[in-house]
Amino acid sequence: MRIAGYWFLLFVFVSGNAPAGTPQDVQLGRILSLENAWNQALQVKDEKALDQLLDRAFIDIECDGTLTNKAEYMANIKAPTVQLARIVNESMKVQFYGRSAVVIGVYLEIGTRNGNPYSHRQRFYDTWINRNGTWLCVSSQSTLILH
């Protein structure tokens, strides 16, 4: 699973370096692939894959309002207190603005924290920037869906 996930991510990055001017639906496919690769990397705690997905200036707001930078986010992923059993994107909408893309969606996260099971349904929004042909996520935010 881990190896398969890494090769999938590698494919996405290699194809991400294609010449400029490719149709928007190709870019759309790349962004959606990267979002799915992110979930896969979280489940298997694949730091190397995550490191390649996130920009150095990456900022994350968790559903409890916690603000973390890239280093803190990576450290949280490594923490043994959280075990993700399943993370599924239920819906995703991608909007492009020049060399930026915004993804708005809903995901379901099921796992255990300090041994206690949890299940969260959250609205998320990620901003991706194209740097020299490679898409990198610069911000991510989640909010619990209460209604």
Binding site: A57, I59, I61, E62, C63, D64, G65, T66, L67, Q95, Y97, G98, R99, S100, V102, I104, Q122, R123, Y125, T127, I129, N130, V138, S139, Q141, S142, T143, L144, I145, L146, H147
Partner: protein
Amino acid sequence: MQQKLLPIAIVFLLVASSCAQGDTTSVDKLEVSALEHLWKRAEEKGDIRALGPMLDDDITYVDENGSLLTKAQFLSYVQQSGGHLQSLAMQTISMNVYNGETAVVVGSYLAKGEQTGKSYRREGRFIDTWVLKKGKWVCVVSQETPILR
């Protein structure tokens, strides 16, 4: 009133100063920062005429309950909250500008007010994504997350 206008005046002076120095990224940051402050001021007063032009027509707004709002729905919400919102203070703000066309603003706020006879105090964080369209910065996505701990 004068005290409230002072931070905005300072931001505008900084914008003017940076323009003179020709630092594009700094100008972009100050311009977006000024818009963020004006947004909070307009929201505090329920002033949708001031707020409307800052928001892209296709803006996606995610409120603190995780609900999706269109521009019209958000403006309607702001107009209604103007009746009970007493203050909306921006506590922190930071931003990055990418490729000179996208600004990502991360901040926190404290809202205080009174609704149905009960006072409330809400703290949250937000990320706003602004894009440059026809030479004008407009917000295309904004999301709120309550601070729970």
